[in-house]
Symmetry: D2
Subunit: 343 residues, 4 copies
């Protein structure tokens, strides 16, 4: 067997556990040599997966001499410092989204990562979904023609607890950021302007801390395309993840996935399965392919498909969206990007 | 057999011919006693349908002593004068959309119509489409719950000639106006604000006279719902007429109709029929039901389901859309409605 | 307007009323000058459609000097005598299926019809359904390649009353006969052998008079294709009318039609409309196109698309099916066809 | 981590490699301690998966002291001797289908397996497919009501080489046997009678050794249900694996799965993905769940869900099908089952 890539995992929350399970159960070409989480209550989960070294201190992961790559799944505020520390130790980095909520933080990270020549890949896992890939392929191959209208529907089955929302950075950086990245991925051009209409129709109380749960976001791209994203924190029928790109030559359209492909014909009509419940189910394979791609980037020395620049743009669109919502006007991306200090 | 309702038809262009054919071929409870069109070249078409009385003068239709109801299919600018003339003769009126491009014209018409107690019904035929009716029923019955997001996709298979576009009143009053009416019909609330992003991606030359061919329109409703309409003048795959309303309890979704319900499985994949080509095909039954409803309003003395107020609001949203496009900002409906002189 | 084709209708039961309504409401190129039914209770229905001449005697229709074509919708046992009588009067004939339950009766009819040079068209209306036509087109054009397997699902929403069933001629001549005709229409070859497995799973009491309500019918064709038809008298979800033809180059597949094309997404899953309820709804347009084709055959002097030979073969397959069921063995068509006396 | 189940794999052909990859890559709760194949050329594949012990002699696997369970993927003729040998060594057994082509061989095996109290599970992997499970659940829960008609479509994308076909045991024991097991699984009753119509429409030359490539199989069940299976060795559009069960209360229907859930709308119509190419893709997850179930049977001491009796019945239906084809008549299962010598 080939030599296994030695990996350290930082953060064993919901998303950390997904990555850990994929590494331990389905990626025998890797070995998780150490994992960390502030809460020791998560350590047993990792031990049951076969991880022998556990710590409450992320620096033990980063500094571990055997670790060749780190997977950062800790809270957003720690992404930049851990990434920079790992880069300085010449470790490759897979970091969950968003890389940061400040553009200058992202730019600073980018400099360090490039200086040390390590791989950095961001966890925009949806890029590895078979449906969205197929749609993108239709654009790249020219079948769609010149892109005119992109529609993304992205709705969660139920909102997270208020306590989570308060620290989430708001719907745009927490939830819509995936859609911003997807819009760039599909259209293949940069966003020029953002307009948002939104409201708290599900949990009016979140307005108190400036958040919303329902949004329509209009993006205008450099290549002339327009996109509209609709977000909701609560679709009672499940996780709604569809998109379609309409162009001068045709339209490519991705539908939801379902747990099975059967229908029941009753007196009351035809009944089919609702969409897969949430991201764990829907993006199960995408999460795996995403990590496998990261590993392949390292072992076969490919460039990272999702780099700092992608993180920067997704966050910048999120900042523009917040501005548009609060000022009820379209916001040019230039307004946001100009705010970055030239380093 | 019951006594036939005596009808006069004004305007024998594309849409006039649809109504005439429905009356003559499929509505034996009516009789078209006279029809008019400025162009005598259309008169033979009507004669072949069995209309014996033809004129180039609309007033002969309006003044014809046997005529109980008029169908107005002439150019938009004549809608108000013909409607008012007919009302004054105590004739019932079916008038094509838009009733007028000026709000004051519509208000004036409304006064006259009400004063004479005649029925006025506007030709927003899509309200009679089986799919959209089913969706609306889901809202009315409460199955959808509180409406949050309405999405309308409305795309034509190919743009009309430039010569037509120049006189069309622009995409919003010519094409999107159907979608504005549909949005009000489905959501069951009044629009408060309009934001538009649009461009001429298909025929850049139409920008010269201020028109566009691709638009994203965001509407905000009094009941908190938001709607997004996407319009294109050219969908190569055919007439794309879909909508979905997403609410607190579920989502109702109308798909396109197709000429047949078959699929072909080949080595290259599964091939299905494109949507019905254009409005003649897609709304064939809706046009018929629409006219039948008008006739039933008269013979059974029901109130008109689509009245002056509906015409006023659809035009007003169109005016707000034009303003939003040219000023690149959200426009409150109040700004537009306040401009109507109190009569 | 063109001269109207003068038509007489014999039989004003369920199917007679469908044809009458199509003629009177939607086919202004025809005029129903007389109609007959043994039961005077049906006469008012025809009068309300505008038929002025009514009789209890079919021969008054056949002998009426103005009548150019007769539509025969009376019970099966009268089809042959009325057809022969009409042919002898040089009237064109549209006759409901089956032409007869005896092969010699059909052959005798064929001779008379041919001798008088009148058109005879049988009411296998499903041949005019848009879905089935599209599938047939896929075979004719060669897209399907050499046909291998045809599957027809044909299920009624609920069984007719026992009293009707007793006189129906059995499921094969009453219900499956449409599928036998369809199988020949799609495969484009003659049936060589029939095998049936059947049972009375819905109404066991009908076994007493030798009938069944659930059947699997296997047909083998001269060109090598095999077909399987499944029939049920009771599909609780509505009228199930699907078929697919699988060949060396691909498969063409016709799905059910539904009253509308919308879906509802609820917590319990995705709900769509059941198939159109029954033949009146499903074949509404096919019935109309069928009669229009008959009229066009006469006025434009085309050959009838569904002639005596088609009636003969459909009945012969039905007779073979009955034999197969009672003897539980495959029956060669030759066994059945040889029984016809050479006339 | 829990103690790993020690497994030996016999046969490293196509299907053996599937099981081996699942064990080595995705089932860390197991350890493959030894594998065998007559052809050493396959040994490297196993070594690359991490299997250290390789042999050309199956008895080394069976006799290996650490092996707790064997996976038998060698040619059919060896299934019985290897199973019996393993049972005598008190090893649990997972055996590929068919267990044997002779009913007496299966019965003898059953006796030995029961005598040694080991688990025996047969590889009817399709029982673990999410679609078919969902359909079965609809039957078990009573939603379908009394089952009336089962339809199975089971078509391969392309035929195996003639050399394989010659040794395959014929289409019924090689290919349809999966459908026979599925029919019993879904209907939940035993088959009473079998009728087959078949031909070699794709490769006429296989008739020389008595095989066919296209078949319609009618099964009658003890509970009154009827089933029809259609098989083809060559569906140009891919692996076609659908079924539907129609009953007194409704119908449950399983459609094909596709590699992605997107559509392309072009001028030429709507294009979707063909079904997943073949069994490796379609039943990828089912293969895994199947083996996981086998492991759980052992570690949690559940009864095997697919035992000798299931193997016996599937083979017996295959034998009846061969008899029906050659004698062109329905064959009672009793005729076949009576032939088993009472042991």
């Amino acid at each position: 067997m080939c030599k296994k890539l030695k990996i350290g995992v930082i953060g064993l929350g919901r998303i950390g556990q997904i990555h850990l399970a994929n590494l331990c159960r389905h990626m025998p070409e890797t070995e998780v040599v150490i994992a960390s989480d502030l809460s020791v209550s998560t350590h047993d989960i990792a031990r049951n997966m076969g991880v022998q070294n556990l710590s409450t201190d992320a620096s033990e992961v980063i500094d571990h001499p055997d670790v060749e790559a780190v997977i950062i799944c800790s809270p957003t505020s720690s992404h930049v410092p851990y990434t920079i520390a790992a880069a300085k130790q010449n470790k490759h980095i897979f970091c969950e989204k968003p890389l940061d909520i400040s553009l200058s933080g992202i730019q600073q990270t980018q400099k360090v990562v490039e200086a040390h020549g390590v791989k950095l890949m961001l966890g925009f896992n949806r890029r590895f979904d078979a449906n969205f890939n197929q749609v993108r392929e239709s654009v790249l191959s020219g079948r769609v023609g010149q892109p005119h209208i992109l529609r993304i529907t992205s709705r969660d089955p139920s909102p997270p607890p208020i306590s989570y929302l308060k620290k989430s950075g708001g719907i745009f950086l927490d939830m819509s950021i995936h859609d911003f990245d997807m819009a760039r991925f599909i259209v293949g051009s940069e966003v020029m302007e953002v307009y948002v209409k939104g409201d708290a129709l599900i949990q009016p109380e979140i307005k108190e801390f400036g958040d919303i749960d329902t949004a329509i976001i209009v993006l205008t791209f450099e290549n002339g395309a327009m996109a509209v994203i609709d977000n909701s924190r609560k679709a009672v029928y499940g996780y709604d993840q569809r998109l379609e790109i309409f162009g001068s030559k045709g339209m490519a359209k991705a539908e939801n996935n379902t747990p099975h492909n059967t229908q029941f014909y009753a007196e009351t009509g035809i009944h089919g399965a609702p969409p897969l419940h949430f991201f764990l189910e829907r993006y199960q394979q995408a999460y795996r392919t995403c990590l496998e791609t990261f590993v392949a980037c390292i072992t076969k020395d490919y460039p990272s498909p999702i780099d700092c620049q992608d993180g920067l743009m997704a966050t910048a669109i999120g900042i523009a969206a917040m501005k548009s919502l609060s000022e009820n006007r379209p916001v040019k991306m230039q307004e946001v990007l100009e705010s970055i200090p030239s380093i």
